[in-house]
Symmetry: C3
Subunit: 314 residues, 3 copies
């Protein structure tokens, strides 16, 4: 593995999942990453991603250096040829090249602006690091994808499925703020690589990028979609068509307990943080059907397996 | 020890003090905490607590992950059943459960609001972590107590006392800002467990919570209280009766050099940070009577002994 | 070495450079700093300095504790005898003494205000730490100097020079913001200790502190200065004479490609971050003449050699 910035960096998903689940059950040798340094740069807040990736690196024996990019350091310029006479003090070319000398792996979180779709789709921050860094780059959630979360989700579904080919439903839910499509994008992409029956359900106007969803079934009727589901992944996202907008706050889409009855006693997943009683009701989150905490734990093992691959470059 | 959120978590104070003083003089084996992770969450600023606890954990061989809770992560919701449609992105239930998977011990600092006494006395942040975390929780100063500081103070008095039963005076001093009662509360509580003659002195209107002070003598005449003191603990706090208010800024309560003459050549203590020439005069802080730096050093050993107990759960 | 706060702390520069270049090529034993702690305090932003110093310490086996001084901790009072009734919660006397107990080396970054020259020249923050700390203090860039950068620059010139006595030109360049003189000051001072032919060139009104430049040639004609240069160090600084002011934004001083032709195929240096196309043109930075990334890498080895000396106190 050369970088881990999108799911296409994974050659053999099943192998990676198996490796992660093995790691989860073994006492990892701390010698693998000894003398190696992970640099983590945050342009946006993070709890799980920050701590699980740091934990994973340390379990591998790595040193970790964490920076809140704009607050601790300098505002970065990403445009080539820019005459840097405004508020950006450092160009990504220098920042990435220098960090590559201090770190053996660079991990970066940078959310979309949700204003200009074309700009967000260029995923400038993460792609600039890939372009100018000379060490592997890890995506800690970029404008369009969250492949560490998606690998976690694939691990979780593999671990908890009771049938060979489970039905997995990704359902939109309301939320008071406009959120990125990065998590649902990567979830759809990773599920498309798995032996599952994937269905997406969302209100009209909320269809994800068709280049991501491809042939995947999209239903605008949540009840129909949830029929016999083995896994329900609940998640809000803002509109892709009317880019970055909130078109709907209909609480009928909130995942409440009675919706479980339509499913096949489904496991309920969410990447967290979750707005209780807006996205998912307390009664679901506090029931045995919720696996959100179990899922969050798998973040560590997803990160560990990716870091191991990047260190060994195999 | 299961948690360390209040002094009542200590079973045998003398044993703990002896252990801390032994640690201070030995080269701690770094293997005790090897492979274990301390997560530290700060809702408020910290210098000594942050660094001494981090140092203590590392001396034990632990890994440490530090987060400025609201700045680096997500604003937390603590209310059960809340419909999370405002600015709080994550519920304590998820945050505590997830952190419990990444960390072997969680340490939390969360100051009081000093507006609503009942609310502060619920000590919601620390108590919610205890409720929802599945690993031990350490109080790095909560709304009502600072038990790591109090253990430090007990260690310091034990170490420096010259008579079997020293007279220990806690005296209020003026301060330009309204401060919590957490430090004096915990100091009073820990001294009540020690073989000392404890006297509290403060202006009228500044009596601490009677549930804390209990039978301890409270004098409103500082001079009378200081007579023959072996230790003087100087500290400001805002009013408990007229909750969170500054009722008095009388510089006659500042601890100045001539007040030492009334005492039995007392050792002067303070938890730091200290406002020089408002709380305590330069002439006292820079004299041989001041033990505030010595006291701050004991923070490391208090933290170390608590972390050891929590790791071994004995 | 007792502290490293200015270049005068270096006894034998050549020895230090040789040691750094040896470190660069060896696998450092991580045992040298084992059980020792570096505390880093930032009053200003930092990327290279933060990460290279942290990396250096960890390569030596040290633990590192990083604090954004005012944000994570308490605002510090530096004035002796101050009546601390305003917004400063802690005096440097306590802060430095306490940190000396938690850390084996304290490293501090504190920029100048660029308003009051006399005040900046007192370099209060770094000098107060030296005065009140009981452990070695490292300057991570103070109001008047940046000796870790200067040592890096000396290492880089030593490593890359092709003639015994290279011509080294320090040239001013325009910049949209008023910058400190700390980097050029220390660069001039370190080059004065080297066997080089040093020339400074800057517009009128931009002459550096004469106590720093001493007998060094200062030319106000950039073209004349650049003749046959082996190294060109490009850097902006605000006026020393009309203190902290921007007197000139003349882009004729920008270092563009055609200026290289006057030189002896010079290596181009800069401490970074660099404003592209304002300070130095893309065509220079992206050419083989630029050694700015190579130079940044040497930060790690400069820091390592200084930390080693401070730990061994030799």
């Amino acid at each position: 593995m050369k970088n881990y910035t999108s799911l296409s960096d994974i050659e053999n998903l099943q192998e990676l999942i198996a490796e992660a689940l093995a790691l989860k059950n073994e006492n990892t040798s701390a010698s693998f990453g000894k003398g190696k340094t992970l640099g983590m740069l945050f342009f946006n807040p993070s709890l799980r991603t920050r701590l699980s990736t740091e934990k994973a690196a340390k379990l591998l024996g790595m040193e970790v250096m964490v920076m809140n990019a704009d607050k601790d350091g300098w505002a970065l310029e990403f445009e080539d040829g820019a005459v840097m006479d405004s508020n950006k003090a450092e160009h990504i070319r220098e920042a990435a090249a220098v960090l590559s000398q201090y770190c053996d792996i660079i991990a970066v979180r940078a959310f979309p602006g949700l204003i200009d779709r074309n700009k967000d789709e260029e995923d400038t921050v993460i792609n600039s690091f890939v372009k100018y860094a000379t060490v592997p780059v890890v995506n800690l959630e970029s404008a369009t994808g969250h492949p560490l979360q998606a690998l976690t989700d694939a691990i979780t579904v593999s671990e908890l499925k009771k049938v060979n080919r489970p039905k997995v439903v990704l359902t939109w839910a309301p939320h008071p703020r406009a959120l990125p499509q990065s998590v649902p994008n990567s979830f759809v992409e990773v599920m498309q690589k798995m032996d599952v029956d994937l269905v997406i359900t969302n209100p009209e106007g909320y269809d994800l990028n068709p280049k991501v969803t491809k042939e995947t079934t999209i239903l605008h009727n949540q009840e129909e979609a949830l029929q016999d589901a083995d896994f329900v992944y609940v998640k809000n996202w803002s509109s892709y068509e009317d880019y970055g907008k909130i078109l709907n706050e209909d609480r009928n889409w909130t995942f409440v307990k009675k919706k479980l009855e339509i499913t096949n006693d489904a496991k309920v997943m969410h990447c967290l943080p979750v707005r209780r009683n807006v996205v998912i009701d307390d009664a679901v989150l506090d029931s045995g059907n919720s696996v959100v905490i179990h899922q969050a734990n798998n973040r560590t093992f997803a990160a560990q397996v990716v870091l191991r691959r990047l260190l060994s470059r195999d």
